[in-house]
Amino acid sequence: MSDPNWQPRIVAFFCNWCTYTAADLAGVSRLKHASNARVIRLMCSGRVDPQFILDALARGADGVLIGGCHLGDCHYGEGNYKTLRRFQMLQRLLRDMGIEDQRVRLEWISASEGERVKTVINDMVEQLRALGPLNLPQRRQDWDREMTPPAGPAGNSELAEQHAEPEAAHA
Amino acid sequence: MKYSYFPGCSLKGLGRAYEESLLPVMKHLGVELVELDDWNCCGATAYMSVDETKAAVLAARNLAIAEKAGPRDLMAPCSACYLVLNKTKHNIADFPEINAAVQRALGNAKLTYSGNVPVRHPLDILVNDVGLDVIKEKVVRPLKGLKVAPYYGCQTVRPYATFDDAWNPTTMDRLLATAGAEVVHFPLKTKCCGGSLTGTVPEAGLRLTYILLKEAVRRGADVIATACPLCQFNLDAYQDQISRRWGPARIATVYFTQLMGLAFGLSPEQLGLKRNFVPMKPLQAEPVTA
């Protein structure tokens, strides 16, 4: 927070049917809001793999926003219930890692709630600004240094390796 | 049941009959009232006309004192006090700049306010906390045959009150019916009595009072019941002037708490009924006491 110009970085996962459409509606309605969120479109919030969230934080996001249809309104019936369940488990894990609850947020925003896209993003930026940078990549380096004997140049985490070349891990 | 109690200036002055009837009625129902320590004027409408921030600060001092007194709801029987305290509470919550000014001023007096004091009107407390069933049990002398026009006035139910409808409130209707009175259909129940304009611009203010009196009479009421000291004063004190100006419109106006007290078997003297300009006719079959 020492830098007043610091801008929190938010990676947002929006479902195609409700929240992505709501963000489009916010656009059509010219509802001005903070530019910090970068939206990745998925068909359903149920597609959000907890790994996506961890990966985003590990790569330097200060917060992650997941947007889906309201419970009971999922285009696919109940994908968002699955999201909710996973989200709750993930949040416990994140708490253990010392990552504040406000950094990973799950919001139900229906296709008609353009206004809510605006308020949620503005609100989240506000909260993240108060929390300050997460700076996980830097922190991870610090942790690694603590964990590994000082000499080894191979001290870089395996995890980081994996993420630098995603296709290597999955192909 | 225990509440902090904010009497307000009027209940110590022109409207003392309100307090004189409210306290015994509440006691009779087992409701304990603790008068707020060193309360100050709520600011009423006049203060907001001069300085909005100071009006908020003034009212907030009372809220802060109430918060210090303990986790109790704050009862404000005067409708102006009720409105101003509620409005201040809302404004502090809704507008950061007002909150900032209030907190600065309170801090200067070593007071704090975190927004946790519900401000309640006696009508709300009687109907929703005490309950009509409990009240019914206490009625020993039902107000049989007494036709009452329930008059809430403007500020009791507008615009921050949530316990009743702003246009067609019914809490007082129900209380009076429980006390055995016959409640007259009185669609003017939330019309303005003229407020302080009866004194400052009588031409306008008193005409509003006149319409209320005239309609209450036309609809067959024996008495008007009110919940506001200023309404009671306006409806009670100016009937001579009004009759001279617009024609006869004579009817007594009393506090609803006075009527409840009568139904509980308390004496008219105990309830401050002798303070009326236009006296209320004795109840039928009233036992000779004094």
């Binding site: 001005k32 809001h33 970068r38 149920g46 285009h75 296709e167 | -």
Partner: protein, 666 residues
């Protein structure tokens, strides 16, 4: 980075669209193009005024040919708008359409931000993500799903009737499901219609009869849809048929049973006459009802309620044996390819505005009540009278009751101005009364409507511009004695007026149906914040919803008059026919698939699938996905512990690279 992919070296073409000033006004497009040009694999990077225009698309095709592009990224508007356009352009350039990725820098960027620098930075990072992602794209084929040719129309008002007839006339089989005992809806209650003043029954009744006799239309009145499953082209719908205790096929509508009912007089409020008259437990909704058969109200009929009645109706029906107290509720399952929802609106409850005294003063009526009074088959046989039978000498009409009011409904109900003027003219025609219309703004934009306003003015109808504050019954002047007094600021004259009248007519607005939320869930639609069903696009797809094969028409989408409702009914019918006549739909190939080698056979994915598309192959001990059933939500993909489930178009590496991309540029 991986540049050598399956189809050789990745060669990306990037295009950023100015969209006139829409994007270029807030985003520095050339700067975005320059930034992207430096990324690995990018062969061409351009900015252009309108990418969706023919020359814009031509540009892509030319570059594909000249620069041997095998990936294309366009940064412009929302993919929900133009993804299709650009996929086609890519196909025309000779490339598989799924080698394309779109970046939304208009709705999500230039339109919602105010700082040019920030907006440009965001555009760069979003474009960067797409460049990262598109490397992993593979050639995919769309699958075709056949369309069931039958259509379900829900709601038998004028909209549903018109949609059903249009489809039926085109040779499509239609199921028309109506909740009430008769079709006809609100329009059947009207006396005349604006602005032509033609008789509502005269134009509606023939259409209602046509539905009844149409060979392609199955009419199920007194029925409700209770369950919908499946997807476009293949919906399975369960319809609940409520017992009317009268066999529709046997009843001939002679009404002798009604005569014979042990209730000698009507005793219960008649729904069709909005409570202005009474009906018996056995009744026909209105003379022209379709189907023209009686119905027994189970809550009122002695026999249904207690089983102890002389059943005089049965005797009257005699050997036609149409009355059948053994009828039970039935659930019927049908298969359709498309659904048109035309469930209409409900009228605002005037009691919610106590200031106007509806329910308190007997001579305060609603517009629909007056409509029934004017109608010659209504409760007063067409006489406009006060409750005491006298004709009114003066009538006040209050507009916008429950409309344009943030305390009740904020929208304009669109028809009340015209509806009230029509009623005003009818009152003038039927009585000697003076009519005053109290309005905020007269909205008469429809064809012939301004002329109708002019006619109203010329006929001597008074117009006072001001929203009525209150209706009271106390007099302050001699002429007010015994009257209802309207208090209003005449905003054009500039003072407050008190206007005494005999009768007050409230133009109550339109509201979404009370169960709109349930219906929306049933058909997997969205509602706007106001509760109206949400169209897919407010301009370009007004009768489509976000669920393919489900269309909306008429007032369930928002207030509208009869011509507009009919137009939407036709549009929805045409949309359904377009799908039916094509015979199949192309499905987005975003289905999930299993990499069998990785599957551990844990079965945790199986219960997750809402479409039961995942089965377990006992022999192989592996999960199996039926691609024809998969809708591509990706829920199973995210929850597979071994990572063996993958999703076309949304592969893990595609998403990871997108995350990397958006965070690459600050």
């Amino acid at each position: 980075m991986n540049t050598n992919h399956k189809n050789g070296k990745v060669r990306i073409g990037f295009y950023v669209c100015h969209c006139g000033h829409n994007i270029a006004g807030m985003v520095d497009c050339p700067a975005v193009a320059q930034y992207i040009a430096k990324l690995p694999g990018v062969v061409v990077s351009r900015d252009y005024k309108y990418m969706c225009s023919d020359p814009g698309q031509e540009l892509i095709q030319q570059d594909i040919r000249e620069h041997q592009l095998n990936r294309v990224v366009v940064a412009s508007c929302s993919p929900l708008l133009h993804e299709h356009t650009f996929r086609n352009a890519v196909t025309a350039g000779g490339l598989n359409p799924f080698y394309f990725q779109m970046v939304n820098i208009r709705e999500h960027d230039s339109w919602v931000h105010t700082d040019r620098e920030e907006a440009t930075a965001k555009a760069k990072s979003l474009a960067h993500a797409a460049i990262c992602r598109v490397r992993f794209h593979r050639a995919l084929e769309t699958t075709r799903v056949p369309i069931h040719p039958d259509v379900l129309v829900v709601g038998g008002g004028i909209t549903g009737i018109h949609a059903a007839l249009t489809l039926g006339n085109a040779g499509k089989k239609v199921f028309l499901v109506e909740r009430d005992p008769s079709i006809g809806g609100h329009m059947a209650q009207f006396d005349k219609t604006f602005p032509t003043l033609d008789c509502a029954a005269c134009i509606l009744t023939p259409k209602m009869s046509a539905v009844r006799s149409h060979e392609n239309i199955t009419l199920w009145s007194y029925s409700e849809v209770v369950k919908v499953s499946g997807y476009v082209g293949n919906y399975t719908v369960t319809v609940k048929r409520k017992p009317r205790y009268v066999n529709e096929d046997l009843c001939v509508g002679c009404l002798e049973c009604i005569q014979a009912c042990i209730f000698k007089e009507g005793k219960f409020p008649d729904e069709f006459n909005v409570g202005l008259s009474k009906r018996k437990p056995i009744y026909i909704p209105f003379p022209q009802a379709v189907p023209p058969v009686v119905v027994i109200d189970p809550d009122r009929c002695l026999q249904v309620r207690t089983g102890k009645c002389k059943k005089t109706c049965l005797e009257a029906c005699a050997d036609r044996k149409a009355i059948d107290f053994t009828q039970k509720e039935e659930l019927v399952e049908i298969k359709v390819g498309n659904i048109i929802v035309a469930t209409g609106f409900k009228l605002f409850d005037a009691k919610r505005i106590p200031q106007y005294g509806y329910g308190l003063y007997p001579n305060v009526v609603t517009a629909i009540e007056l409509e029934r009074l004017v109608n010659s088959s209504g409760p007063t046989a067409g006489e406009i009278v006060l409750r005491d039978g006298r004709p009114p000498k003066s009538v006040g009409m209050i507009l916008c009751v429950g409309s344009r009011d943030m305390k009740t409904n904020r929208w304009c109900s669109r028809t009340c101005c015209m509806h009230s003027m029509k009623l005003a003219q009818l009152v003038r025609e039927h009585t000697e009364a003076d009519v005053t219309v109290f309005y905020m703004d007269i909205r008469a934009p429809g064809k012939g409507c301004e002329e109708f306003y002019d006619k109203s003015l010329k006929e001597g109808i008074q117009f006072v511009r001001g929203r009525v504050a209150e209706v009271t019954d106390w007099a302050l002047a001699p002429e007010e004695e015994g009257k209802l007094v309207i208090r209003v600021e005449d905003t054009l004259a500039g003072f407050v007026r008190r206007i005494p009248v005999d009768m007050i007519v409230l133009a109550t607005g339109m509201e979404p149906q009370a169960d709109a939320q349930d219906v929306r869930r049933l058909f997997n639609m969205s509602c706007g914040t106001e509760g109206w069903f949400l169209e897919k696009h407010p301009k370009l797809a007004p009768v489509s919803t976000f669920t393919d094969g489900v269309f909306i028409a008429g007032c369930c989408q928002g207030p509208k008059d009869i011509p507009d409702s009919i137009a939407q009914a036709g549009a929805a019918a045409a949309e359904a026919m377009a799908l039916i006549d094509k015979g199949h739909i192309e499905q987005e190939p975003n289905t999930a698939y299993i990499v069998e080698a990785d599957c551990s056979g844990c079965k945790s994915c199986i219960p997750l699938c809402p479409y039961t598309a995942i089965a377990f192959d006992e022999a192989k001990q592996k999960a199996q996905i039926n691609e024809a059933l998969c809708k591509g939500c990706g829920t199973c993909v995210a929850s597979c512990p071994s990572g063996s489930i993958r999703q076309n178009l949304f592969e893990d590496e595609e998403i990871f690279s997108e995350i990397e991309g958006v965070l690459a540029y600050v």
